[in-house]
Subunit: 286 residues, 2 copies
């Protein structure tokens, strides 16, 4: 029988002692904390599909470049724990950076091709940090299923590639993007937006929705789909479009001419805050 | 209850189905086949310490350079299976190269510093292949303990580093070198030696034994220890010394001047066959 009280562990040793007490199947939700409804949707899905749910909170330094926002990434562990407790999480693992990357640390997991495109073009070491830390978390927690958000579309594809390539016996479940009422994709980084930036930020999801609607009405030219999104975003102040992509949803190769299924994804600076969002358009989607 | 008959599986799917039927703790011995008493000593140690023993046989292409002996690496699966059956192995996994490295394979596990020295200087991509395949084998088999031979001294250190860095919940057990009656370290590659080369090859272990004896009698100068080994080997025909190292047994950093504990290791071509061997000298060893 499970103890109903949520357990919180910090060290790998305590994790190792606690895990065998959790009933299988075990669902795992890795997070960087500062949780929002997007994260909670993963926890709820894991609760639905698994007997036990483990959540990790770790703002992973190795996936941030030196000029990125690691130091300022929002943190509120107490609020996170309250939220996870309310959701009926069995175990929360909060490792320290010193224990995850001790002196003499020197091992990296690298997925080669699919990390070079899209986000990888602008954040060259980002995915190496992601795959390394996810590998470490997987090895420590040994879950049956792990839950990731479609918001980080490329991350989900990279993790799926890693799991396949490295023979991980873990099912990867990718869950839909959760949005604010006006459409803005939930993100811990939204907290950085000033009021006028927040208003401008709605153009990302609106642009994607306009492209999706055009696709549903028959628009199939990759250039036009990209243009619809960028026109909408560039009509707003504070926005600086880094990329807008219309790519193959599996290989992430950029598409040209007439497309079938496609992933339309983007990265945009709104003020100093870099936001991403995406939509998948499928021929046969209802 | 275990079925006493040894099971043999090829696919990851069959492995996944078979593993839950094995009682824990589970010991794992990864091999490249063409088994000898060195491998069997690992299996026996695993039998002693674990309830179930899984052996993999996979000549891993990614740890061979294009000019190395992958194509000619000796293979005799039938003989291997007979030997493993006699030892009471529960499960043998024989994956195919196509299933381990399918089209679009693109993930690598890389241990950085400790792979750059010794063997890594002469075989630059070797350890990336080793750590990647061992990671794949570990993820698939999920053992409690895994057994490696001291014969590949650096490999054992690299694997221990990887296990520590990537949070693998696996105990690594390193077992002593098993030698022929004249001292030659057992190796699948010994089968390549002609009779006169086989005679010359004994100089490797003899040189190391002479250095170890000198160490025990008080010799502590790294240069002298290296010289004792190389003098003995270079006195033989057919031998071409690639390196002889006297290094820190943990960091593998080459030592100079007066040493304490040290790993004396070497790689020597005997004819066309590259052989390695080593001995650890410790101040406090009995």
């Amino acid at each position: 029988m499970n103890n109903n009280k949520m357990k919180i562990v910090e060290t790998l040793q305590d994790l190792k002692i606690t895990l065998p007490g959790l009933n299988r199947p075990l669902g795992f939700v890795p997070t960087m904390g500062y949780l929002h409804e997007g994260h909670l949707s993963l926890v709820r899905r894991a609760k639905k599909e698994c007997t036990s749910v483990v959540v990790s909170i770790f703002t992973n330094p190795t996936q941030f470049a030196p000029d990125e926002d690691f130091e300022n990434y929002p943190r509120d562990i107490k609020r996170d724990l309250d939220m996870l407790n309310s959701e009926g999480t069995q175990l929360v693992w909060i490792p320290t950076a010193e224990s995850m990357y001790p002196e003499n640390y020197q091992t990296w997991v690298d997925v080669e091709q699919v990390t070079k495109l899209l986000e990888g073009r602008y954040r060259p070491d980002h995915f190496r940090g992601v795959t390394t830390v996810v590998s470490k978390l997987f090895n420590a927690v040994q879950p049956d299923k792990a839950y990731f958000g479609q918001k980080d579309a490329q991350q989900a594809i990279v993790i799926e590639q890693m799991v396949r390539d490295l023979n991980y016996q873990i099912d990867i479940v990718v869950c839909p993007i959760i949005r604010e009422s006006d459409g803005l994709a939930m993100s811990s980084r939204n907290t950085f937006l000033s009021n006028p930036e927040r208003q401008a930020a709605v153009s990302l999801s609106q642009g994607l929705l306009m492209a999706e609607t055009a696709y549903q009405k028959g628009e199939r030219m990759a250039d036009n789909l990209r243009q619809i999104v960028s026109d909408r975003i560039q009509a707003e102040p504070f926005t600086d479009l880094q990329y807008i992509s219309c790519a193959d949803p599996s290989s992430l190769q950029e598409l040209s001419g007439k497309v079938d299924d496609c992933l339309i994804s983007l990265a945009v600076y709104v003020g100093n805050t870099r936001l991403i969002d995406n939509v998948i358009c499928r021929e046969n989607s209802s």
